[in-house]
């Protein structure tokens, strides 16, 4: 059951990320907006991240048949997703994340080389949680400014993804519990909530940029 749900989550994540990424890149090609460019990088990264994990499970299940997914594939997929979450947060002008001191910037990446891949996965999950929570807060704040109902859906989607990441991380503490299962269900709900406002974008009336392939 967990394996099935994991596959559904990764496929939904791949497809939703791809769909939002494509809408964003079409928007960028038609308007030249850097915001849409950052959004397209964000959602293509999220899509690729989910795809890497899904492909890892498929290869493991049908070719290698080792019984469990290679830890580094899971870590790689989560890392790529984290890049996507970073670009969502970055679009909200996330500046305070970077330490001003050059010394802290240079040593900031150092811990990644002295911990095992399991710990690296924990780090990526916790960073993803912070970035998603930041994105959700900024999005809901924007709703109070312009009362765009789509922002509620996106904020709910990012919040669910953040909660899912948190529970997914916390399930390492209680590996046999229902937490990981719940985290996957919440993340699927989050991805669907993200897609709802995007599905209403009327692309049919857009005369596409001729140079867009």
């Amino acid at each position: 059951m967990e394996f099935l749900l994991e596959n559904i989550l990764n496929l939904v994540g791949f497809l939703v990320g791809l769909a939002i990424g494509i809408v964003s890149i079409i928007g960028y090609r038609n308007t030249g907006s850097p915001t849409l460019f950052r959004l397209s990088i964000a959602f293509f990264s999220i899509s690729i991240g989910f795809f890497v994990i899904w492909a890892g499970y498929m290869i493991e299940d049908f070719i290698i048949k080792a019984g469990s997914l290679e830890r580094w594939i899971q870590t790689l997929g989560i890392a790529i997703q984290t890049i996507g979450y970073f670009f969502i947060a970055f679009s909200h002008s996330i500046k305070s994340l970077f330490p001003k001191s050059r010394y802290f910037r240079s040593v900031g990446i150092f811990p990644l080389f002295i911990v095992s891949s399991v710990h690296v996965e924990h780090i990526f999950r916790s960073v993803s949680f912070i970035l998603l929570a930041y994105g959700a807060i900024e999005t809901i704040l924007s709703y109070f400014e312009n009362k765009n109902k789509g922002a509620i859906s996106v904020a709910a989607g990012l919040s669910f993804l953040a909660l899912g990441e948190f529970l997914g991380w916390y399930s390492f503490v209680f590996p046999e519990s229902i937490l990981y299962f719940v985290s996957m269900v919440i993340k699927i709900a989050g991805l669907i909530a993200l897609f709802i406002p995007v599905s209403k974008v009327p692309l049919t009336k857009i005369k596409f940029d001729e140079s867009f392939d």
Binding site: V23, S24, G27, N30, T31, G32, S33, T35, L36, L39, I88, S91, H92, G135, E138, T139, I140, L141, S142, Y143, N146, N148, G150, A151, S153, V154, A155, P197, V198, V201, P202, L203, K205, I206, K207
Partner: protein
């Protein structure tokens, strides 16, 4: 508090004015656009030059004064701008 507008938003405002809020059928004067789009003279001059060179606006010389009208490409750009502006607003962003 004054709202911060991105370069893209100002372009959208200029194009919207030339499409929906013209003084007369001949187009809008620079003074009219300055008032409607709320942009300084030096800035709007630069932007109008770019918009005309990109084919989004048409410059009409009417009785010795320059007037600006939106072109077909400008209408298409404005439609795309409005669509994707709404899309970005869903994410709490401004394009």
């Amino acid at each position: 508090m004054a709202e911060y507008r991105t370069h893209m938003k100002i372009i959208g405002d200029i194009l919207s004015t030339t499409r929906d809020d013209l003084q007369d059928e001949d187009g809008a004067t620079v003074t009219y656009l300055i008032r409607k789009a709320n942009v300084s003279h030096s800035r709007i001059s630069r932007m109008l030059k770019i918009l005309v060179s990109q084919g989004l606006l048409e410059k009409v010389n009417e009785e010795g004064s320059n007037k600006y009208k939106i072109s077909q490409s400008g209408r298409e750009f404005l439609h795309a701008y409005n669509t994707f502006s709404g899309f970005a607003t869903n994410f709490g962003l401004t394009i």
